[in-house]
Structure formats: C-alpha cells, structure tokens
C-alpha cells in the first residue's frame, strides 16, 4: 500500500527526492512523495491528497473518465496524465 506522508508537491520542489510517483495533474507536473513508481496509488489517494475528496469533481486519467464509484480501485501509474474538473460560472 502506498504511503502518502505529505500532500502532492510540485515537481520542482521535489527534485532531491529519491522515490516519488510522477504525474501530470491539470497540466502541471506533480509528485506523490514517498510513492515508488510502481506503488499502489489510486485515484482516491490523489484526490484526497489534493483535499478534493468532498467536492464535486470529475476525474479523467489519460483521457478516460474514472467514475467516482471506481476511484478506490483505479490505479495510477508513473507518467499518468490526470484532469480534475469542476463547474465554474459561465454562460
């Protein structure tokens, strides 16, 4: 099981770390500290680390929507491209 001792960090803050899973989240390079590239990190891990577990968001991993019900089983892998979206004001 992956440990995620601290929330997601920007990749440039983490240059010195030895092990971390690297992801692209909303166009930014991010790392899950302490997670090895082949650790079991799920969408839930990520969403919780970002403090978004209680908000109405949709998640796409590599352009495929992961439904909320499937977040606990949806594994993330090194290099995955994640989009997290919500509703904002608009016409």
């Amino acid at each position: 099981m992956a440990t995620c001792s601290s929330p997601l960090s920007r990749r440039d803050d983490m240059e010195a770390r030895e092990v971390a899973m690297r992801l692209t989240v909303n166009g930014e390079a991010r790392e899950i500290a302490g997670a090895t590239p082949d650790a079991a990190v799920t969408v839930v891990t990520l969403v919780e680390a970002l403090g978004l577990a209680e908000t109405r968001v949709a998640v796409e991993v590599n352009r495929k929507i992961v439904r909320r019900a499937n977040w606990p089983e949806a594994m993330l892998a090194e290099g995955d491209v994640v989009e997290i979206v919500h509703f904002v004001g608009g016409g």
Binding site: N26, R68, E83, I84, V88, G89, G91
Partner: protein, 280 residues
C-alpha cells in the same frame, strides 16, 4: 423566493404566465415555469450572482467545466454559489472548438453534475464566437446516443435547426446576435421562421446570445420563442440585480403578448373613442 415587493410582484406575474394555466417550458422530461435561463459568468461577486439569480426567477442556470485550481481551495466552484434544490444546472461546452472537445467536456460535465442536460457550444470563429453548426450537429448525434438531453447553440439557420430537431435535440438555441454583444435580435425574420418550423417538431426554440436589454428579451418572446438564455445582459448591466428583475418581467410580458395575439398593424389611424354623441 425573494421577500421584496418586486419579488412578490414578479411571482404573481409568473403565476399568471406559467403556473395557473400550465404554460410551462418542457426540456427533455422536465417542465419549467420560468422561460428565462441565466448564465453565471462575469459577475463582479458571488453574492451578486446569487442575488441576480434569485431576482431573475430562472430555474435553469448555465455553468462551465474547468480545471480545478490545485493551489487554491475550491471556492470558485459553482456548488458553493448555487442552491441545487432550486436550480437545474445546464453545463456548457464553452471554449471547445471541435466536436471531440465538446463531447469530452459534456461527458466530464455529466460526471461532475450527475445530470444529462448539456448545452453544446462549438466555437468556430474567435472574433464573432460564431458556432460551427456542422460540428455541433455531429456532437449532438453522439451525445443523444449517449443519453444526453442536448441543447445546441447555433446560428439562426432554419435548416440546421430542422436537422437538430430531426436527430432528437431537446431544443434548438439560435443566437439573436453574437455572444456578449448586446445587439438584440438582429434577424427577427430568421427567428420567426425557426419558431414556425419547430412548432411542427414540438421542439422548443431558445434564443441564446445577443440580448442586450429587456425589450430584446420581450421581442424574442413575442416572436414565439419558448425561452431566452442570457448572461452578459444581466451580469454586464450597471445594476445586475435590477436588470435581472427587468428580464424576468420582459420574458413574462413577451410570452403573454405572444399568446394573447397582437392586433394587426395598420397604416392609418382608427379612432378608439366612439364617433357618435360628439358635442355640437
């Protein structure tokens, strides 16, 4: 419901126009008493957006799908701003310029909002924000097959509207003028032709974009449109909340005038007072 006098007055008007005699707007499986749809963008503050929404009497509000800002709390999320027991959210695909982007955005919107309503907007020209009707039609086909209730934003093109009605769109949404222009209903003849054609399909016509002031909204309704969707006309007014009130009345007035059937126009005067019994 607002507790102000104006709020109660407009409530009465809405009751006459929409409540008592079942004159409601049908979109997909749902009926709405209000024929005014409101965008939630461009308001100077969240509080004002909320107040304007209440003043408008609108039941359907449009929202956009955007990336969560990861460095901030989700305070800009619309969930914090809108009472979902009162309003139906209509996510749009604003910002998309291809059918693939529009489909992807609609799918994400459904996942965020758990509703099937979507406003398809595929923008083809940066200066005018004119929609790509062909791409919109293609996206609509796919989204309808996916179970969406599709409201397409298109130019005031009768033939495109007929095609969209043919494939099962829940409404057609021709523009009155470019988005955010406030130029009003520039081509009332086109709008009227679309209205008449859509009667045969039983598909509502919603003028989306171009309304600048209350008379524009009333005009659209007098032409027989089923509803009006606007954002900047309210958000961009000097006093948005007051304009929201005005729009509510304008839409109700225009609807009633359309249903009442206007008198024929004549070139010369006809006296309103009797000609008999004039003093000598």
């Amino acid at each position: 419901m607002s507790g102000t006098t104006a709020g109660m007055m407009s409530g009465t008007t809405a009751g006459t126009a929409a409540g008592n005699d079942q004159d409601s707007l049908r979109l997909g499986a749902k009926h709405y008493a209000s024929r005014l749809l409101i965008g939630t963008g461009k308001y100077p503050s969240v509080a004002m957006a909320r107040e304007a929404l209440a003043a408008s009497g609108a039941e359907i509000v449009t929202v956009a799908v955007r990336r969560v800002n990861l460095d901030r709390n989700a305070e800009d999320s619309i969930w914090a701003q809108v009472d979902l027991a009162k309003y139906t959210l209509l996510p749009n695909t604003a910002g998309c310029s291809t059918q693939e982007e529009a489909i992807r955005t609609a799918m994400l919107a459904r996942e965020v909002g758990m509703g099937d309503l979507v406003k398809i907007e595929v923008i083809a020209d940066a200066k005018t924000l004119y929609p790509d009707n062909q791409a919109t039609l293609e996206a609509a086909k796919i989204l309808i097959a996916e179970g969406f209730t599709v409201l397409p934003y298109i130019t005031d093109d009768l033939v495109v509207c007929k095609k969209l009605a043919d494939i099962g769109c829940a409404a057609v949404m021709p523009l009155g003028a470019p988005i955010g222009s406030g130029l009003g209903i520039r081509n009332p003849v086109s709008i009227r032709l679309i209205v008449e054609a859509m009667v045969d399909y039983g598909v509502p016509v919603i003028v989306d974009a171009g309304v600048g002031t209350a008379s524009d909204a009333a005009r659209a309704m007098e032409l027989g449109c089923d509803a009006v969707l606007m954002n900047t006309a309210i958000a961009g007014a000097k006093v948005p909340v007051m304009m929201a009130h005005a729009m509510r009345h304008a839409v109700d007035a225009g609807r009633l005038a359309y249903r009442a059937g206007r008198m024929p126009m004549k070139l010369y005067a006809t006296a309103s007072s009797p000609l008999e019994g004039l003093i000598g």
